[in-house]
Symmetry: none
Subunit: 241 residues, 2 copies
């Protein structure tokens, strides 16, 4: 495959491929007599890796280091990347929540501190580098910079986490063990804040689908999540009673 083909395939520019060749990040496996770059399937797979890392904000130099490392394990890398993508999605969720909150604050419904206005932008602690360092130990010493989260945000946080988890599961069978465990968490979470019979719980699930406003709210975490939750909640309620 020549440059353009790879470029179109992957969505990066030809210039970018040239650049990656220049800095030794992605050197084509072969060359024609005329000096044309020829990329192999292996090269393409590497490019995929590179783009994942890049999307996660790694500088190219770091990416090169990682790929060059003899102990580099593709599978492990994919798993890390997956985790980081999920984390990033969580960050987006936080930002969306911040927008919603800001809108309500703008309407005067609630108050909002200046600090809250930047929640989700958590650039301060770049979690990616951190994770990568934990995993592949760039430095010997990793400080334990634990944050203290306020009680209120913790709740919101927990909700978000449960929703996010459910969103990840939303393609599996609602009656499966995984799904039921996650929905059970939801049940217990709600019960901490109120009193919930299994029937009410199931009714709540119905409601997620029946009331479009709530459907939208829930489906923010993933398309079809509301329906999935309703199904899972029904199964859960049936099994409880």
């Amino acid at each position: 495959m020549k440059v353009k083909e790879v470029a179109e395939l992957s969505g990066v520019s030809v210039r970018t491929l040239h650049h990656y060749d220049d800095i030794g990040l992605l050197v084509p496996e072969d060359m024609t007599d005329a000096g044309y770059r020829l990329y192999s399937d292996d090269n393409v797979a590497t490019l995929q890796q590179i783009l994942f890392f890049r999307e996660l904000g790694f500088p190219l130099k770091k990416i090169k280091e990682l790929l060059d490392r003899p102990s580099f394990d593709r599978l492990e890398a994919f798993e890390l990347q997956r985790e980081m993508l999920v984390a990033k999605r969580g960050q987006l969720d936080a930002m969306i929540a911040t927008i919603d909150k800001t809108l309500r604050a703008e309407k005067g419904e609630i108050k909002m501190t200046n600090e809250e206005k930047f929640r989700g932008f958590d650039f301060k602690t770049n979690p990616y580098e951190q994770e990568a360092r934990d995993r592949w130990g760039d430095d010997a010493v990793n400080q334990a910079n634990e944050r203290i989260a306020g009680a209120e945000d913790e709740l919101q946080d927990r909700m978000n986490r449960i929703y996010t988890k459910l969103a990840e599961l939303r393609t599996v069978d609602p009656a499966s063990q995984e799904a039921q465990e996650a929905i059970g968490e939801w049940f217990h979470f709600l019960n901490r804040m109120g009193h919930y019979s299994p029937e009410a719980f199931a009714g709540l699930g119905e409601m997620y689908v029946a009331d479009e406003r709530f459907t939208k709210n829930i489906d923010r975490f993933g398309t079809g999540l509301a329906i999935f939750m309703r199904d899972a909640m029904k199964v859960y309620a049936d099994r409880q009673s």
Copy 2:
């Protein structure tokens, strides 16, 4: 507020604030005699806007253009940003799916084309610019782009009317005839969109109170409405069965 405070608050560097001042993107509202930058709350709100746009990949120059535009509407901007963040989250979902697929392909469970390996990276079509232009018309012509209030809004409308009516009644006895008529309307409305047993209906009412997010949403129509509705719904459900 001086630079450092704003920097720590928002998570950007002092240098970044200097830079934004230099290019006229975020000019502090005041200065001390010594030339120290003094940021107002308004400045902070603007910075929030800027960071949202930045996160979405807008170049600073474009952001400045947007903010400078006299027709700039913060609320509208937030809504657009929200949509774009959701879209970006969808992109992340696609990338996560791609990783999962790649992992299974690596195990030989399935096959995967080279094209599929880059799904989710859709950089080719930058939807943001497009959206922004649609929305705020880089050209003057876009004003006539009124939305068609489709069936969707009509539903919303009916819901709002019922809520409003209930809100008016919220001080009377939930078991009274008036209240029961109104809540019956609600029951039928929901049943038009789904199947609702009386129990589920009552459960939904419980839920209005138990889940703070929904409580807040409902109480927008009147303080205490959620509790009132729960009570009315319980009575209604009991009488139905």
